[in-house]
């Protein structure tokens, strides 16, 4: 209690129906940032008892809707399209509003009277202090089983563990060609052989849909176009023993969203050497649990909400964007 402050009766105690309202603006365009924002907001919600989370997002990328569906904490969402938006005056909670929001759900969920509003700058790849139990992707059982079936149908052996390898990724065709040459000669064969032959696993290769084909290697399953199927990609990573990528990318956020050990090279250090990759793979295999088969999808652990947040939201243990 602040010194000298005499408290008013707490009107919220024991009134679950009046739990705090969180409104989050998930405005990122890249997949990594979008997922980070989504789960950041969910983690804040987890820290406040009886809270509800409503999100506003822009439905301008095919992955957004499906991945938003893996956030199990959202009470309601508004997906804006084209030039449409909602006005800041939507937070006007008095009578006689000069600017109207003609959406009853906005008021039904008490979004016009939020307790917390999160913008992208507050959620950028960091967890707030006090969030001891970060939110994770939530898979409905039937849905997950169907995607597992898809993975098996594509050739992933359900009885052996696998890792997901994100291949060279670039939006620049020149980089892609140069990277292709280096990757094939420098990394690809040795890495896959190390995982498949030496460690007894499988490699699920993901990446850009336009990546050139790799040479066929037993134990490597190619899902290079999985980026077009965001849920299949997310599911593959969620069930992988670990995730590794050859260039920093937002796909790593899918691993973090499922608490899957991951390795990503620093964006400042250039391409990793084969020796560095081998060392990373060895370390990942060590820290990952000993899975005879596929990883069980992570389940959020019960926890005691702190019922507080600290402004400004500070960096703490959690994601790095």
């Amino acid at each position: 209690m602040t010194p000298g402050l005499k408290p008013f009766a707490d009107l919220r105690s024991g009134r679950s129906a009046d739990g705090p309202v969180i409104v989050a603006f998930l405005l990122a365009r890249s997949m990594g940032e979008f997922v980070a924002e989504s789960l950041f907001a969910a983690s804040v919600k987890r820290s406040l008892e009886h809270a509800i989370l409503c999100v506003y997002w822009r439905n301008d990328r095919p992955f957004k809707g499906p991945l938003l569906g893996l956030n199990g904490h959202i009470t309601h969402n508004w997906g804006a399209q084209g030039g449409a938006s909602m006005p800041l005056d939507a937070f006007d909670d008095a009578s006689g509003k000069p600017v109207h929001v003609r959406d009853l759900d906005w008021f039904r969920h008490r979004c016009h009277r939020p307790d917390v509003v999160l913008t992208p700058s507050m959620m950028r790849g960091r967890w707030p202090d006090g969030v001891s139990a970060p939110a994770r992707f939530h898979w409905r059982e039937e849905h997950g089983a169907r995607l597992d079936g898809d993975l098996a149908a594509l050739g992933v052996d359900p009885n052996r563990w696998f890792c997901v390898l994100k291949d060279w990724d670039s939006n620049d065709p020149d980089d892609l060609i140069a990277g292709e040459d280096r990757t094939v000669s420098g990394y690809d064969i040795r890495i896959v052989e190390k995982i498949v032959r030496d460690a007894g696993g499988q490699v699920v290769r993901v990446g850009h849909a336009k990546l050139p084909d790799r040479a066929a290697i037993a134990g490597r399953i190619d899902l290079a176009d999985a980026g077009c199927k965001p849920l299949l990609l997310a599911r593959a990573i969620a069930r992988a023993r670990f995730y590794i990528e050859l260039t920093p990318s937002g796909t790593a956020m899918l691993a973090r969203a499922s608490a899957v050990p991951c390795w990503s090279p620093s964006g400042f250090a250039g391409q990793p050497s084969v020796a560095e990759l081998e060392k990373a793979i060895g370390a990942l295999a060590m820290q990952a649990d000993d899975h005879g088969g596929w990883r069980l999808p992570v389940v959020e652990q019960p926890h005691q909400p702190s019922n507080r947040i600290i402004w400004p939201l500070r960096a703490g243990p959690g994601f790095v964007g």
């Binding site: 602040t2 938006s85 009277r113 917390v116 913008t119 992208p120 608490a259 390795w263 507080r308 600290i310």
Partner: protein, 395 residues
């Protein structure tokens, strides 16, 4: 290169110099949506946002408001903590996507300053529902308004020209009348106009002060007399009402109404009478005097019951009172007189026009826990029977 799990990283702001608000290079950016229409709410929201800014050594406060009342732009001008304000006219508005701070935003705010000053990337976004007045006393440093420097001399002269003596103290008197604009009558807040006239007489004749009335044009006329100045008739008071409050020994509010919020905005002690809720002033010397709370049998409800129950917060709702069998009776003239004597005693250090006093501030913590506590620092009083009740025992 680093090896890391999905959920474990190094902290990158363990260095206190990098903490938000700790340096001029990294100020805490606060965007406040001031969407209230009523005077009192608008003032309180300004104070809340400014007090939030004072929690940081370095901050920038940006205000988004709708310029639909003649007083709003002046109030923004009296808030010295505002870095930049955006005044919306008519149906103008900014979109939610104004907080998209990455390149290539498909929808945004068409104002260069919005992006240039960092408003797209706030650390804190305050909405009206977050800026709760019951949280205002929890701030370790309460923000104050300031009359623009270039206005002060002229406003002092206007008070002199209106007939105020500069060598004697005065109080500002205000109450609600049912003739106020489109909002009309509110039986819980309007009072019998004969009471303010009687109290003006009491303050001038028995307490030795002067009285300045503020309010809206069209309020009931008072008898002209020495020591009484009526500013309620000003069609366009500009900063005059606010300035009068800043110079007053105390603010004497006979029924809850917006202009009283100027008192806590300037640090002028206030007494709020005929109150049906506990919140109000921010000064510890200030007082809230409740109406008489009675049960169905007509018995007075003890003050400590009211204080410790939710009725202090909820009693303004008629349905709540009816459900609980609570009846309210306005303060009597005797109660109003006793309240005036008490606030006079609490302001004994101010014997002429009030001068701004530099506040003693605690070091900004550069962070705060949310939600803030809801509470009060003033005294909640009741003069319902022969003995004064004050839960703090300070009378």
């Amino acid at each position: 290169m680093s090896l890391r799990e999905g959920h474990a990283i190094e902290r990158d702001t363990d260095n206190p110099r990098l903490a938000v608000g700790a340096s001029a290079d990294n100020p805490c950016i606060i965007v406040a949506l001031m969407l209230a229409r009523t005077l009192g709410d608008f003032i309180d929201h300004q104070l809340f946002a400014a007090s939030t800014a004072l929690l940081f050594e370095h901050s920038r406060l940006f205000v988004y408001y709708r310029d639909d009342r003649p007083y709003k732009s002046r109030i923004v001008a009296m808030n010295p903590y505002v870095t930049r304000a955006w005044a919306m006219l008519e149906k103008d508005t900014f979109p939610f996507d104004g907080f998209d701070d990455r390149p290539g935003a498909p929808v945004g705010v068409d104002e260069e300053d919005w992006a240039r000053l960092g408003c797209r990337s706030p650390h804190i976004l305050l909405t009206p529902s977050m800026m709760q007045r019951a949280m205002l006393p929890a701030f370790p440093n309460s923000a104050r308004f300031a009359i623009p420097n270039d206005q002060i001399r002229g406003l002092d002269q206007r008070l002199l020209d209106a007939g105020l003596r500069p060598d004697r103290w005065f109080c500002v008197l205000h109450y609600r009348e049912p003739t106020f604009g489109p909002r009309g009558a509110e039986s819980d807040r309007d009072i019998d106009p004969s009471y303010p006239i009687a109290m003006t007489d009491h303050i001038i004749r028995h307490l030795g002060g002067q009285v300045v009335r503020i309010g809206h044009p069209g309020m009931r006329a008072f008898p002209a007399r020495s020591g009484f100045v009526d500013l309620a008739g000003e069609e366009d008071p500009g900063f005059l009402h606010a300035h009068a409050v800043s110079r007053a020994r105390f603010f004497y509010e006979l029924s809850p109404s917006g202009p009283a919020h100027f008192a806590w905005a300037f640090g002028t002690p206030a007494v709020r009478c005929n109150a049906i809720q506990g919140w109000g002033p921010l000064e510890e010397s200030s007082m809230v005097v409740l109406k008489q709370f009675r049960d169905r049998s007509g018995n007075q409800i003890p003050l400590d019951w009211i204080i410790n129950d939710e009725m202090l917060v909820r009693a303004s709702t008629r349905t709540y009172r009816e459900a609980r069998g609570i009846f309210l009776t306005p303060n009597s003239l005797d109660e109003l007189r006793r309240a005036a004597r008490d606030i006079l005693a609490r302001t004994a250090d101010c014997l002429a026009w009030r001068r701004p006093v530099e506040q003693v501030r605690v070091p900004p913590p550069n962070s705060f826990e949310w939600p803030l506590q809801r509470g009060y620092r003033h005294h909640i009083m009741a003069y319902w029977d022969s003995s004064t009740q004050d839960v703090e025992g300070v009378v």
